[in-house]
């Protein structure tokens, strides 16, 4: 077994040689399957879009986050800061000990960097 000097992780002998030989075949197979399915996929996608458009008109979704069905990672910066403090608390609580923000908001990154308590974040947000 090939030794890696990074703290105990190892790979099988000749793994990288074998991988390098394997990949071109996999890509050919993958793209072959993609081409044959693409025709029916286009129709499926078109039908889904139409269905979604109709549903969204009939059933306007509520931005209901009280049951913590929001994943903080999927929010844009603007959406994130539009959340009420109580909702922010709820969303954060569900993702305990995880980074709670998207990448580009410097202010909230500073909160994380400082490891502020949730109560402190809530106070500053109010």
């Amino acid at each position: 077994m090939k030794e890696n000097n990074k703290n105990g992780f190892k790979v099988p002998e000749d793994y990288f040689k074998e991988f390098e030989q394997r990949i071109p075949e996999i890509i050919k197979k993958h793209n072959g399957i993609k081409k044959s399915k693409s025709f029916s996929i286009y129709y499926t996608i078109a039908a889904s879009i139409i269905l979604l458009a109709v549903s969204s008109i009939i059933f306007i979704p509520k931005f209901n986050i009280n049951e913590s069905n929001i994943n903080p990672y999927e929010l844009s910066d603007a959406e994130y800061f539009d959340l009420k403090v109580s909702d922010l608390y709820y969303a954060y609580n569900e993702e305990a000990n995880a980074d709670i923000v998207t990448n580009n908001n410097e202010e909230v990154e500073n909160y994380i960097a400082d490891e502020m308590d949730l109560d402190e974040i809530i106070m500053l947000s109010e």
Binding site: N7, F9, K10, V11, Y15, E20, A98, D99, A113, E115
Partner: protein
Amino acid sequence: MDIPDADIIQFIKHPNSKEKGFNILLNKYQERLYWNIRRIVVSHEDADDVLQNTFVKIWNGLDKFRADSSLFTWLYRISVNESLQHIKQNKKHHILWQDTSTNLLLEKLEADVYFDGDEIEKKLQKAIIELPKKQRLVFNMKYYENLKYEQISEILGTSVGALKASYHLAIKKIEKFIKED
């Protein structure tokens, strides 16, 4: 022979030499990307799957690569995203409510036949797995890969200041974890 990235980019831009460029890229970066992935997903089998998906994605994205970022950071970003996606998928397939990503990765570390570190090495890896996602990524890239903060910033889309803070916090947490018991 180490072919510069600028040359590889020239190869992949032309349809006639795209495959040649890809093979050079594969040869040059597969090992480095593997270890980056492995440190995120922990087990060799998962790393193999993710590395495979990564290179399929790289191949499919070559035509769209605009060299706004360096080739290396582009490849790295794909490998990070694929790794995180894999972890997310794994979590969905486990129906027990208490199976968080952290628990699943810890289980994989214990079960992985391609890990034979001693107790200290295992404890270090456990400490890293316990870190919040962003801190873990930053720690791995800084400590193991010795990437510059500017490179990590390009890969993760996070400011350099926040990265420095993340790394500092990661080290403190790891030290604390290792000193326990």
